[in-house]
Structures are given as C-alpha cells and as structure tokens.
Amino acid sequence: MKKIVVTSGKGGAGKTTVTASLGVVLASRGYRIVLVDADVGLNNLDVALGVENKLVYDLADVIAGRCTAAQALIKAGSRELYVLPSAVEPAGMTAQSFRAALDGISNCDYMLIDCPAGIEHGFHRAVSAADRALVVATPAVSSIRDADKVFKLLSAYRLESVSLIINRIDASLVKSGEMMCATDISRLLSAIPVGIIPEDRHFCNGAPLIGLPENVKTQKALNILADNVVNDTYKAFDYLSRGIFKRRRA
C-alpha cells in the first residue's frame, strides 16, 4: 500500500479536488483506494465525492475507539473508492493516534491523505502518516511561495518522494503573458511536476467529481497524473497544445 499525502501549505490550491479526482481516476483503473480527510473540521472530501449524506462514523469515532477504521469508510461510486471522513476534531488527536487510526486500514492499494492548509499540527499529523507527498501549487505568487516553504519542510520527513502538481493553470492566460507558465513554476520550485492540471469549469461548480465527462481536458491531465503516480514517472500534460509529450526525468 502506498500512503500519499496531498498538501500545499496555502488554502485554495486544490488539495481536496486533486485528492478526490486522483482517487476517482485510480479507482476507475481497478485499484482499491482510500481517501482520508485529514482536514479535520473543514472537511470537504465527502462533499467533493457527493457522499456527505452517507456519513455515519468519522475519524473522531475511530480514534475514540467507537468503531473500526473499516466501519467508518464510506463507499463512493461503484468502484473500490472509499472515504474516511472527519466531521469533528477528535479530542486529543496526535500524529501517533492519527497514524494508528490509519494503520487499521490495510486492504487498499493507495491511501490518499487530504492535508489541511497551513504548516502546523494538522500538517505534521497528515505528513507523518504518509510515505510520499504531492505538493499542489497554483500559478499564484502566494501559492508558489507557500509551496516552496512546504518543500523545505517536507525535506525533514522521511518520505520516499515529494512531487509537484501545478493546478488551475489557464492556457489562454499563459499565452497572453498574464499567468506564469508551468516551466517557470517548475524552475522556481526546482521540481519537475508529476501533474499539470488546467483550470476547468467542471471543477468549479461544486458538482461531485464522480461521473465527469471523460473527454474534458482536465480528465486527460488527471489520467497522466495517475500514470505518473502509479509508474513513478514524469510524463507531462501539454496544457498549451493539448498534446502529450514525455519529459526526461530529473
């Protein structure tokens, strides 16, 4: 099982959307996926997947011993995609108790942990339970600066890999010189992106991410991100021409 934390530092970069979308794509390939909402108190992973009405138990119940982690999982869609929600802040939750709660989930291929914004306790809890990290950054100055700080912080953890995802990039704004391009962001952060995800109206209206049309541009980008996560590669989505090309590895 691979445990991957999706983080960014800055709020609004798209951690939850990326976590949910990547989970949907990986589940559609036959993997058994568990998405963990570590954004305690500001949980939205269940909403992103349209399962907010199915919540019975949550992370707080698992940590308090009122149920097992397996009992708290909510199935999302028809595939093997599950969510461990976190509706309320569990009393006395530590990084250790959070890790112990996740250790109760063993039968899955990928566990994606949706990290809270910020770089404090919630960040530490989520990162210390993972063995890989995906850092989401948008082409905004503040987002890139925060991502840079997060990369530095993550270097203190024993993670197998830390990779960059550039989210919400707008090809038309890049072409007109109003938005930084993926190459600039990659150079500034000294990281080759495993995912470049374009801005997409399908992801802005709050509709559940399961069942999005297969032909949307973002779906192609997410498929490439999933390829890279599964195969540990750096194949890039050419958001400017909608083609696919290979980039050499770092």
Binding site: V141, D184, S190
Partner: protein
C-alpha cells in the same frame, strides 16, 4: 502584474526566504553592486539577482551592459 514580473518577484522572494535575508537586503545589495561597478564602467540596464540552484546553493547573477570604461585615477591624481 504580468507573468514576467511575477517570476522576477518570486525569484527574489524565494531566495530571500532561503537566505533568511532581512527586508530591504536585496535593495541594498543591488544598489551597492551597482555603485561598485559604476566606479569602473558606464553601465546600462543593471540587474542583480540571487537564484536558487537545485543542489541547494545560491547563485549571484549580475547583468549589465557596459557602454564604456571609466577613466581610472591613480595615486598621483589622489594627491591633487
């Protein structure tokens, strides 16, 4: 602010974060370098930046077009 300006701003910001440089460091650094080089050259379009390299070190990049060398004084001219 266009993308080019954002990139330049971020380059300075990220280098400052890494070096833990105090506010105003880059302005002073740039001004001092410009003053030093201006003692020797007539400059045009001077820029100085600190870039972070992937291996974790920093590179100081100074770019300026030299229009002419300035006449250098010597010890005799100092005495006058």
């Amino acid at each position: 602010m266009n993308a080019r300006d954002s990139v330049r701003r971020l380059e300075k910001m990220l280098a400052r974060d890494k070096l833990k440089a105090p506010d105003g460091f880059f302005e002073v650094f740039e001004r001092d370098l410009a003053a030093l080089l201006s003692a020797y050259f007539e400059l045009e379009g001077f820029t100085a930046a600190i870039e972070s390299l992937p291996e974790g070190t920093e590179l100081v990049v100074v770019k300026a077009k030299v229009k002419a060398l300035k006449p250098l004084g010597n010890s005799r001219s100092l005495r006058k």
